[in-house]
């Protein structure tokens, strides 16, 4: 053992603890960065390298990845995105229906049927007829507004589909670019940037991630049929087509390199796609069916009745109604409410049987074998339970993801307590090592003084 050996060992120790302190400083400065994976200086290999000197951070600094927990997190985050968006979409649909309020369809229908009953009590009255007309117009307007609101919402959701697809593409490109550089120069900072991009992607769309030995990642989407999104330098971008205003409002989505768009079932995008393609259209369809059924049933009875001028065969609502948007009181009736028929026989001004029969339609099984009001209530109940279900699922998935994040942080997160005590430990070791050098220096001086 020579004195210079002491010098050498201490010099290695100094640089080792410097590396350790700089790693600690990196950790501390990233304590608030959720995507950062903490690092640890491998003092063993730094101080006594076994197989020659290992250069570069990969050899001497460890990145404490959480492995399958991180991949679980990426897989599970899609459900949070999905149910959060579901809850928002269905809550908005619930708001569109605006129940229970005096301007909701429920009370509009009630007032409409009741106005016919009032007319039956006073069949030759101008006022009662004008009121029936007004209630009919209000009911139609409410239906029209519902249709407009649902269609507008569908279009807005379609816009969101486009925006989200753009975000997905940006992230996919980012990941692909990192993949390309990974082969030549792998770095921990690069890996952090890639993981951050994947985390963002995982909320937008359902993905599963695998990492190759050369640190390149493969990302696929879909359940039964997997569609690759990124694999090495391969990228499968999303393309969307916004239809012209008049057509069906649903935005069409496809993959640039092929694959069924039905593979996208999760994340914010999965929820938006379902909303614009099936849930909003299905509510619209049910409201349409209700508007058509009410128009048809009322017209059928109204046509068989006579008004004061003994005219029969008139429609109360527009006969060519195809949905809630086109529902309306017949323009002749709007021009002259006295045309409204009340009697089931000619020349009977006091006969209100037709008006009563129309009012009775509310208790008829007029649509799919159920009452109009029950049919409508079942739509509202369904929306309500969807909101409830989405809110429950969102809550539970948020818990799952929070737990996974805690597990991830438990392995990869920075603990200030730990870093601070490490810092003191390394600082003391550094001071001791530098003291060793000055001691060795004194020893050499002593030896030199012997001459």
């Amino acid at each position: 053992m020579s004195i210079s050996n002491i010098m050498g060992t201490s010099r290695i120790a100094l640089s080792a603890y410097q590396t350790a302190i700089s790693t600690t400083s990196k950790n501390i400065s990233n304590v608030g960065n959720p995507d950062y994976v903490r690092r640890r200086a491998d003092l063993g290999s730094l101080i006594s390298p076994t197989s020659g000197l290992a250069f570069g951070e990969e050899g001497n600094i460890e990145r404490l990845e959480s492995g399958f927990i991180q991949r679980q997190l990426w897989y599970k985050t899609q459900f949070v995105g999905r149910h959060q968006t579901d809850e928002m979409v269905y809550s908005q649909i619930e708001t569109v229906f605006n129940e229970p309020t005096s301007s909701g369809l429920s009370s509009m229908m009630g007032e409409f049927w009741n106005s016919w009953n009032d007319l039956a009590n006073d069949p030759d009255s101008n006022t009662a007829k004008a009121i029936v007309k007004d209630k009919g117009v209000l009911l139609s307007n409410t239906f029209n507004q519902l249709a407009i609101d649902l269609q507008t919402m569908q279009r807005e959701v379609g816009d969101d589909v486009g925006d989200t697809a753009d975000k997905v593409n940006t992230l996919l490109n980012e990941i692909k670019t990192i993949n390309e550089t990974m082969g030549s120069g792998y770095s921990y900072d690069m890996a952090d940037a890639r993981d951050a991009a994947i985390s963002k992607l995982s909320k937008l769309i359902n993905i599963s991630v695998t990492e190759n030995s050369d640190h390149k990642v493969n990302i696929t989407t879909g359940g039964n049929t997997l569609v690759p999104l990124v694999s090495g330098d391969f990228i499968n971008e999303l393309e969307y087509h916004v239809p012209p205003f008049q057509e069906n409002y649903a935005v069409e989505l496809s993959f640039s390199e092929g694959g069924p768009s039905s593979a996208i079932s999760g994340g914010i995008l999965g929820s938006l796609l379902e909303a614009q393609e099936s849930s909003i259209p299905s509510y619209l369809q049910q409201v349409d069916a209700l508007a058509v059924a009410i128009s048809r049933e009322v017209n059928e009875v109204h046509k068989s009745g006579f008004n004061l001028a003994d005219v029969t065969g008139l429609d109360f609502f527009n006969p060519d109604v195809s949905g809630a948007a086109s529902m309306g009181v017949h323009e002749d009736i709007i021009d002259d409410p006295m045309l409204i028929a009340t009697s089931d026989a000619a020349s009977e001004a006091g006969n209100g049987n037709i008006a009563n029969t129309i009012s009775d339609l509310q208790n008829d099984y007029g649509i799919n074998g159920i009452k109009f009001s029950d049919y409508y209530n079942s739509i509202i109940s369904e929306v309500g339970s969807k909101v409830q279900e989405a809110s429950f699922l969102r809550n539970s998935q948020e818990m799952v993801v929070a737990t996974l994040q805690n597990h991830r942080d438990s392995i990869s997160g920075v603990s200030l307590d730990e870093e601070m005590s490490n810092l003191i430990k390394y600082e003391q070791a550094y001071q001791a090592a530098s003291r060793m050098i000055s001691v060795a220096d004194e020893l050499i001086q002593t030896v030199l003084n012997l001459i």
Binding site: P100, N114, N117, D124, S410, S415, M420
Partner: protein, 293 residues
Amino acid sequence: MRITQSIMSRNLMTNLNINRETMTELQNAAANGKEVSKSSDDPVRFAKASRFRKTLSQYDQYSRNINDGSGWVDNNALVMNEFHALIVDARSIAIQGSDASQSEETRQVLSDRVDDMIEESVATLNSTYLGKSIFSGTDTQNMEPFEYDGSNITYTGNEGKMNRRISEGLDVEINITGSDIESTGVFTSLVALRDALAVNDDAGVADLLQDLQDASDKVLSLDAQNGLVKGHMQMTSARLETSKVNIQSFLSETEDADLAEVIMEYNGAEMAYEAALQVTSKALQLNIMDFLR
């Protein structure tokens, strides 16, 4: 488990948020007094409440129909009473006229009085209610359904019945038609009385006494039927009012919040929230740096 700063703050925030959510829900319940104010609060209870509201609105309508019908029926009773009084008067004239000791002149005067009575009857029966002719069946714009041409009374209305919907699937007929009144034979009897008095036929007048009595009885029975309708409506109205009160309380049970309970729960939630806040502030203040020199 290794606990990092991010795990601590995540858990603390989650707990604070759960407390906040509970408090917001309770605040809403206290503010609008409803536990179920939209479908997503509880779809099953919401659907139930909607049905209750629908039934209430329908019952309100039935009550309005009953009020309207009652007006008609009361008015019918009024007019029928006046009419009946005329028949009673006519019968007392008949009793006078059947007395063999009365002179021909007296009978002539009595005949004229009967003629006046017939005119008065027609005027009475041609009365209107709310601008509608009451005894003309459904031909309510026929303001003079009874016509007296000086010899006979003819009825020009129809036999239509006016219905009022007083309950689900339950209609009552609220009008008495001119045909109903004609079929009591009252007009024939009155005309016969007038003619018998005019020709000084005291035996004929005496024969008519029974006819007039029968007609009077039949008119009374029409009035009684009218009274039955009124009774029916009153009963239904009372039943509707009771049902409405019951449904109101069902509705309230279904969707209303129990304020005492809400406030109690709110106090509990507030305490939990304060505790969570205190723990949060304490836990977040703990810092290793304070313990290093």
